[in-house]
Symmetry: C4
Subunit: 256 residues, 4 copies
């Protein structure tokens, strides 16, 4: 096994598709959006990417069946007047510096294999404060894309985000530029402290305008409510735990 392996698991004949990436990141905005989109479009898994730069673990599913941490790319043929779509999803990003580059290059290899015309990466833009009505910001690797995004009310702010765009959402633009693949990052404002399905919806709404087709957000709204419930449950548990006596150093002792 080489460090990072691409496996084509299903075939689908896509025409100059648009690739959309939503790996985990700030506020899980990209991940929530892409997983919703894959569900909503009932897309087919076409590619699996395994990497020694992903965490060394398996996840257990509903049946007790396990699977390696991996990145998956789904595809969907759409109606005639809308671009076909590839969607990049996963539970993890690389855990090492070099792995971020390697995994993004592999995703770009796949995009070239499918003749991808444009890439949109989805992410969050941490403001440090709770945002009621999140705005959506953009960054591009080719100024020709800026106009398209501005038309659907995506904002551009100089040198923003100040810390740059980290991980696959940034590298697909940066490394894509070197290969001549046009790419833009669409970022929803978010506090940066919590999973943010509200900002994720704002990003998806904007994306649907860019792509020119409707995306039902109902299920995502329900997810938002689920997440709200989980958060308040955890808050409750945390408060209960804070009221319990804490284990002493002796109780916690671990003999290796």
């Amino acid at each position: 096994m080489v460090s990072t392996e691409v496996e084509y698991v299903n075939k689908l004949d896509l025409e100059e598709p648009v690739m959309i990436e939503g790996l985990p990141g700030v506020g899980h905005i990209g991940k929530l959006a892409i997983d919703h989109l894959i569900d909503e479009l009932d897309a087919d898994k076409l590619v699996e990417i395994y990497s020694q730069y992903l965490p060394p673990q398996v996840l257990v599913d509903e049946e007790g069946n396990v699977d390696l941490a991996k990145i998956e790319i789904y595809g969907k043929e759409t109606e005639d007047d809308v671009k076909d779509i590839l969607m990049v999803s996963g539970d993890h990003q690389s855990v090492e510096n070099k792995g971020h580059f390697e995994i993004s290059e592999k995703i770009l290899d796949v995009s070239e294999e499918f003749g991808v015309e444009k890439i949109f990466t989805l992410g969050g833009f941490a403001t440090g404060e709770v945002v009621e009505t999140p705005k959506v910001y953009g960054a591009v690797n080719d100024l020709s894309l800026k106009e398209i995004l501005q038309e659907v009310d995506i904002k551009f702010k100089k040198r923003t985000p100040a810390g740059g765009i980290v991980g696959a959402s940034g590298l697909l633009l940066g490394l894509g530029k070197k290969r001549g693949i046009k790419a833009a990052c669409i970022m929803g404002e978010t506090s940066g402290y919590m999973v943010d399905p509200v900002s994720s919806q704002a990003v998806l709404r904007t994306l649907s305008k860019v792509l020119g087709f409707e995306i039902s957000l109902q299920e995502l709204e329900e997810r938002a409510e689920e997440v709200e419930e989980i958060i308040s449950e955890i808050k409750k548990k945390t408060q209960q735990q804070q009221q319990k006596p804490q284990p002493s150093r002796d109780d916690l002792m671990y003999i290796g």
Copy 2:
């Protein structure tokens, strides 16, 4: 020396053996179990795996003799109606992300060399609370194994453990699946704060039912008592130390 090296140190003619892995992990449940099994069966060491991903150190034995940190695989021919066994043991797992994958792949290479039919990995499942009568949980890389485990009262719980199964116990399932090797992880409930020979016994009892032969647990019970003694000794020392005056910053000063 390449990063990870497999050395076959003894020969033994095993027939479609079952491989059992018990490297260090949560509660040292797998390690306690496998080391007991190797002792109890008086198994022969067949393979040594050396790796630059293991800690850069030697361990000193009773005689003052040293040996590189390594992973060892022992083998045992059993009676006719029971599967032969390979047992994977060691004092360490990889210290780097990539090394976890490399070492697990090497263990799988060995399993293929011996025509292994099935792999069982042993581990702990941290609950965060002290567990009086530990239950035993399972996860599989092929649903056909689930039935076998459920027959001997191994529980399956969806998406559990929630954080996935980390290290060799997880990767042997995940990477094994890609090679078509069936594998299951058997996990004993444990607090996660201490070495847990009680939970280890529960895992071994279950394993003996899966394999269809008796394992005397007497020595492991004695070990459990030894561990209890060590723990209470350390507790005593810790308490004594906490009563001693602590060294000041000056005393601790280190000139590099």
Copy 3:
């Protein structure tokens, strides 16, 4: 893509140029100096170095256009009696041990490509205390350079800085020595706690004497004032934030 890639983006016919390096480091002294020099000389970008050892991110410019983290080398033909100049700039150094070596070797490859005669690396020398009138210290990889530096009042102090010179400013001397390229490091005294444009000016003033041409420092003085303003703004914000109630652990909770 290999780990580190050198791209020659423009041509310029330079005659035995001097190379000056100013990557980020203590007090950002080198970086402030080199960026000022590139502006002041209106130099042309000749080389871009991309590396998987730089942070996995893109930076966003004034237009919302992104670019991979990279190291850039600019060039300038000067008047007849002054050496031509190559200038090494960037927003980052390697994030891994090995990458420091690899990137410095690549910079040395470029220096050989251009027939560089001498290298000057610019840096800061942390004293731990605020310095009103920063002195300038030197270190060399060939004693013949020491005299030249002492002539323009650069100080030499034995085994100083005590911790050695870390990163590209040190490695270009150390690795350069093995290739027979003469190199010196010019360090401005600085507290080590802040970006220090005053010490950066002291370094540039000294450098201009070494190179034998005038460098207008006006713009850098303005930058110094800008930095002062930014610092006092941040101080103000920090104080305001310290007066605000802090978010509780619940508010900060992040659901992954």
Copy 4:
């Protein structure tokens, strides 16, 4: 440049020499000992080992001249009845796990090049308490060496040190064993909190009995006094600093 490079810088005709290693470690006992021995024997530098696993920095000498972090091997022809000696010294060990293995393998390559008959590694054995009269402990990679060490009153204690022997002092034994090179580690008791020239002298005294020649310890005793002085100076400064008002968070602010 490959990751680790061996350069033979001088020739010396040694007959089945003994190799002694003293890289930095617990209490700097090995380093103090080997540097003293090199001085005392007026040995010649024969080999330099450069590695991308050593810190990315240069050290500055008395003249302001810099040199890459490296490992050096010195040699000395001795009188007829005593074994010739190779001495391994340096200011650093590897900063990465894998590098420890790589550097130790390179040192073993050199030992084979010189037909080394035996290796002694020098180190410290941390007890956590101040030790007035340090004992000297041993560990071997071949039991035939144990007797030789016991004859000169080196102690052996089972499974000691409990945490194993980390770094080159351990790996030269472990990796040497696989090459059939006999090696022993000689460890002086030390608190583990300070550079310990007293324990270093104890180790050297023992070593001189093993090797069968006298080593004047005068200079090392003087060094011990120097170190004592440095320690008390630093203590004084630390106390003064603790009495000074500490810089506030604002003063320490760093603008990157």
